[in-house]
């Protein structure tokens, strides 16, 4: 299996003067296709920042990141947009579904950006059936449970067939059963050949992850087995 994400010497600094803080301080990470890596750590340790810089949503102060062979740290805004559209799927803690659109329309949303209208719709339909979201697909987010919304968000992340899926606290707003189902779903995404990086507080994540890393003082280190 090839390496999808390679990150080395990541540095990200917030604030200035006395409030200056190195949230990432030399963190390094490698994730291969078909691998699910869980990143854990206390609140404020920089887990979400790690995900943001991996996705090119935020800029590094130092270090290098490659995603699917593309040097994220050197890409301009347009190239980053293309990279996110074609190679990266994002899952958020608060789902971030567009409230005015139905579940199916939310799933197909990223396909609008890459011009894959009909093909995107076909993939979305397949994903909806595959993830058991046929009923949820015709409803708006406000009418759905948290678990249904998060599964739709995962389907949305997969619709452009990305090489990498980045999930930020995907079980944070879910009850135990729904959370477990989402973790299983992410596991199956990795089994399907994608690299998955999961940032979480959820202790059950260790059970589904191939590796668990702990973010401590801006560096990633292997966590002891659960």
């Amino acid at each position: 299996m090839g390496v999808v994400v390679r990150a080395t010497g990541l540095v990200k600094v917030y604030g200035a003067g006395a409030a200056r803080r190195r949230v990432l301080d030399g963190a390094a990470l490698e994730v291969a296709a078909g691998e699910l890596v869980a990143v854990v750590g206390p609140s404020g340790s920089g887990k979400s920042t790690l995900l943001h810089v991996l996705a090119g949503l935020d800029r590094l102060d130092d270090g290098a990141i490659e995603v699917a062979g593309a040097p994220v740290h050197r890409l301009g805004e347009r190239a980053l947009t293309r990279l996110r559209r074609d190679q990266i799927g994002l899952v958020f803690q608060s789902f971030h579904l567009v409230p005015e659109l139905t579940g199916a329309e939310n799933v197909v949303l990223p396909a609008r950006a890459n011009g894959g209208g009909a093909a995107g719709a076909t993939r979305a339909r397949a994903l909806i059936e595959q993830l058991g979201l046929v009923d949820a697909a015709t409803r708006r987010p406000a009418e759905l449970s948290g678990g249904e919304q998060q599964r739709l968000a995962i389907a949305r992340a997969l619709v452009n067939e990305p090489a990498l899926v980045l999930a930020d606290e995907p079980t944070g707003n879910l009850d135990d059963a729904a959370g477990a189902a989402v973790l299983e779903l992410l596991r199956s995404v990795a089994v399907g050949g994608r690299a998955v990086v999961l940032v979480t507080h959820d202790p059950r994540a260790g059970a589904v992850a191939d590796r668990t890393l702990r973010l401590v003082e801006g560096r990633l280190e292997a966590a002891p087995p659960a």
């Binding site: 293309r82 958020f92 971030h96 659109l101 197909v108 990223p110 950006a113 949305r156 452009n160």
Partner: protein, 754 residues
């Protein structure tokens, strides 16, 4: 209440940007209201204000032969109910010069007897018999010549000092009126030339409702006074109407409509502001706030925001419109409202505060009545239609933007209502401007089918032989007064045979004239004199009275509709001095310039048929200023409504835009999204605006402005195209601006929004 006040203040201070945006909208609408109120109040009350301040007489009698004051006084003493009288000698065609300007149209008003003047001194002081070498000049003359109190004026060879400047509301001001009036005391003149005779008598009545009796008696005792003519306060008003009444009425109606539009925009924007807070209302209800508390809080917040913004806006609008309105009133010899306007402006501020408070409280009341969870979840999202299981790509980001805007139905409706009102008002303004131009220049608008008149009636055959001439006919026109209401002017237009070959205003009721004793009257005249079909129209002409039976009522615009079409027989009998001209109607394909050149070459130079309004350029310039101020304010409100709608959408969609960018939407896609949202508001607003204008505002303005005539105020294709292009430009500009703002924000900031 105190708690609601505290909470409202805290909320306003917590969001300074949003508060400023909402405040700006209220300020803009307030400015519109202030300007509209200033224009409409100023114009509606200008004459009465000036007449009261000037102590305008109830009756002014003019006669051609000068008489001694004692002779005229004997006649006046025979009249019942006269409270006071003054006599003047009016000398016309006097040469005036001063400050590098000159005019041969001066009118010297020698104040021979009586204490009451009939004019208001607005600068300096009045003249008196004790001071020689001083005059009071009318304001129009002072403005045109650039004269002030203390300056020198030359009357023929005589040099006098300007002691005061006055407004005489019995006529419009120079140069809209042909003559420039100069008031001089008779004492110094009497000392030099002997006692002055008089040819004008001004009468003030104890009971103005007995005017008709006084006039009847006056005619009975007027022997020795040749060509006696009376003009009453009502007659003065009618004279002023002839000069500018139609336009002033149109402007007043326009201002009233603008007021209504401003109220609608305020309500729409306040309602949109509450729609944005649906989730907060849901949380408040969940925390135990009563429905009344939630409503009160929003109402108080709306009022708190509206009070300073409305006060500033109304003041700004009044100041902006005050100058042009005063100029317009000055040309009509009327006075600006001054402090009398203040209570109305204060009332407008209170009305705006009430509208905003009510428009904020009402949706809050409705929302607070729904289950808290429902409100928290979706605000005013419409219920989704059940769709099939088919999944489509959905039509791109443009369509998505339109859907996002359309999903907030309340907000979209409010934005569309505000924009639609602005579109309707701007269309109305453009239509009005176009109508003014056409009234000025297009004789066909007045029902005139002839293009030229030729003074030499004997050249009828010669004129008829010119290529391009379709018909030639004699046209008589004479001005008189209604024999029953002597102050009411009437214009008789007579053609031998069928007048519709040359003038054909639409017939409102009855039929066309067929016999010498019949008349078709304009609706303006019918309304003024209470004439109906079958009634008798008696007109006092120079040589006697002419009577006609009313057989038709026309929708005539010419001369404010105070006209009557008749046949010439009785007109010539009552006024043998009346001279006809030749009315020349052209064929449809004729080139008027070529025909005019040919007629001139044949020695019968033609005159072009004119329009309805005065051709005085300065007057029309002042009118254009008033229109520009109102239009500018409307445009600002239109832009504000659009930007506010988009800014609110962008602010609320911050996280959605961030998610779209995070999932691969670039600048083009974000721009398409905002363009779609803008189009979702702009297209229906344009349609609503056009519909409201064509079927509501234009007919209403036409009705308000001239109940006596049909005015074609409707917008044509050019006006609609201009507004559509302007709105599209505004929409695209606003979308581009919002795209730029959205793109400058880091994606992660938007993602943290929820």
């Amino acid at each position: 209440m105190r708690r609601a006040l505290g909470l409202a203040v805290a909320r306003l201070r917590a969001r300074p940007g949003r508060t400023a945006l909402a405040g700006l909208g209220i300020l803009a609408a307030g400015a519109m209201a202030g300007a509209a109120l200033t224009v409409s109040f100023g114009l509606a009350t200008g004459f009465d204000r000036a007449a009261d301040r000037a102590d305008l007489p109830d009756v002014i009698a003019r006669f051609d032969n000068t008489r001694t004051p004692a002779f005229v006084d004997r006649r006046v003493r025979a009249l019942p109910d006269v409270a006071a009288r003054s006599f003047r000698l009016e000398i016309t065609n006097v040469h005036l010069s001063g400050n590098g300007h000159r005019s041969g149209q001066g009118s010297l008003e020698v104040l021979v007897a009586g204490r009451r003047r009939g004019y208001a001194v607005v600068a300096g002081r009045d003249v008196s018999d004790r001071r020689g070498g001083e005059v009071v000049i009318e304001r129009g003359l002072a403005d045109q010549f650039g004269l002030g109190v203390g300056d020198k004026l030359h009357i023929g060879q005589l040099t006098v000092r300007v002691a005061g400047i006055a407004v005489g509301p019995d006529n419009v001001a120079f140069p809209l009126a042909r003559t420039a009036r100069v008031y001089v005391p008779s004492g110094p003149l009497a000392a030099r030339f002997g006692p002055a005779p008089v040819n004008v008598a001004e009468l003030w009545l104890r009971d103005p409702s007995k005017l008709d009796e006084v006039l009847t008696q006056a005619r009975a005792v007027s022997y020795g006074l040749r060509d006696l003519r009376f003009i009453t306060r009502g007659g003065v008003r009618a004279t002023l109407d002839q000069a500018a009444g139609l336009i002033v009425a149109l402007l007043s109606a326009f201002a009233l409509v603008t007021l209504g539009a401003a109220a609608l925009m305020l309500a729409a924007s306040a309602s949109a502001e509450v729609q944005r807070r649906m989730r907060t209302i849901g949380v408040q209800r969940a925390l135990g706030f009563t429905r009344g508390q939630v409503t009160l809080q929003h109402g108080v917040e709306g009022a708190l925001l509206a009070l300073p913004a409305a006060a500033a806006g109304v003041a700004a609008g009044a100041l902006a419109a005050g100058g042009p309105t005063s100029d317009l009133l000055a040309t009509l010899n009327e006075l600006p409202p001054g402090a009398a306007l203040l209570p109305w402006l204060a009332l407008a501020v209170l009305a705006i505060v009430a509208v905003v408070a009510a428009a904020s409280a009402w949706p809050a009341w409705r929302a607070a009545g729904r289950p808290a969870t429902e409100v928290m979840r979706g605000g005013d999202l419409g219920r989704p239609r059940r769709r099939g299981r088919r999944v489509s790509s959905g039509g791109g980001y443009f369509a998505l933007g339109a859907r996002l805007a359309g999903a907030r139905r309340g907000r979209l409706l409010a934005t569309v209502a505000a924009l639609g009102a602005a579109v309707a008002v701007v269309l109305l303004m453009l239509s009005l401007a176009s109508l003014l131009d056409r009234l000025k220049e297009d004789p066909a608008l007045l029902g005139k089918r002839y293009t030229f008149t030729v003074g030499d009636v004997g050249a009828r055959q010669l004129v008829g032989s010119v290529p391009g001439v379709a018909a030639v006919g004699e046209r008589y026109q004479v001005d008189g007064a209604d024999a029953f209401a002597l102050g009411s002017p009437v214009r008789l237009i007579a053609y031998p045979g069928d007048h519709t070959r040359f003038e054909s205003p639409p017939l409102a009721s009855g039929r066309r004239v067929r016999a010498a004793n019949e008349a078709e009257v304009g609706q303006g005249l019918a309304q003024a004199l209470g004439l109906d079909l079958g009634a008798t129209l008696a007109v006092e002409l120079q040589g006697g009275e002419a009577r006609f039976r009313v057989v038709g009522i026309d929708r005539a615009l010419d001369n404010e509709g105070r006209i009557a079409f008749v046949q010439p027989g009785r007109v010539v009998r009552a006024d043998p001095a009346v001279n006809p001209v030749l009315a020349v109607r052209l064929t449809e394909d004729a080139d008027p310039d070529r025909v005019a050149a040919r007629l001139t070459a044949l020695g019968v130079p033609p005159q072009r048929a004119g329009g309805a309004t005065t051709s005085n350029a300065a007057f029309l310039g002042v009118l254009a200023d008033v229109l520009r101020v109102l239009a500018g304010l409307t445009g600002v409100v239109c832009l504000y409504a659009l930007v506010q709608g988009l800014a609110l959408t962008a602010r609320e969609r911050r996280s959605t835009v961030a998610v779209l960018r995070a999932t691969g939407a670039g600048q083009r896609e974000v721009a398409a999204l905002f363009a779609g949202a803008a189009v979702a508001a702009v297209v229906p607003a344009l349609l609503v605006g056009i519909a409201v204008h064509q079927w509501l505002l234009a007919p209403a303005v036409a009705h308000l402005a001239a109940g006596y005539a049909d005015l074609p105020v409707g917008a044509g294709a050019p006006e609609i195209l201009v507004v559509a292009l302007g709105l599209a430009a505004l929409g695209l500009g606003a979308a581009a601006w919002m795209t730029r703002r959205a793109r400058r924000e880091p994606v992660v900031v938007g993602l943290r929004e929820e």
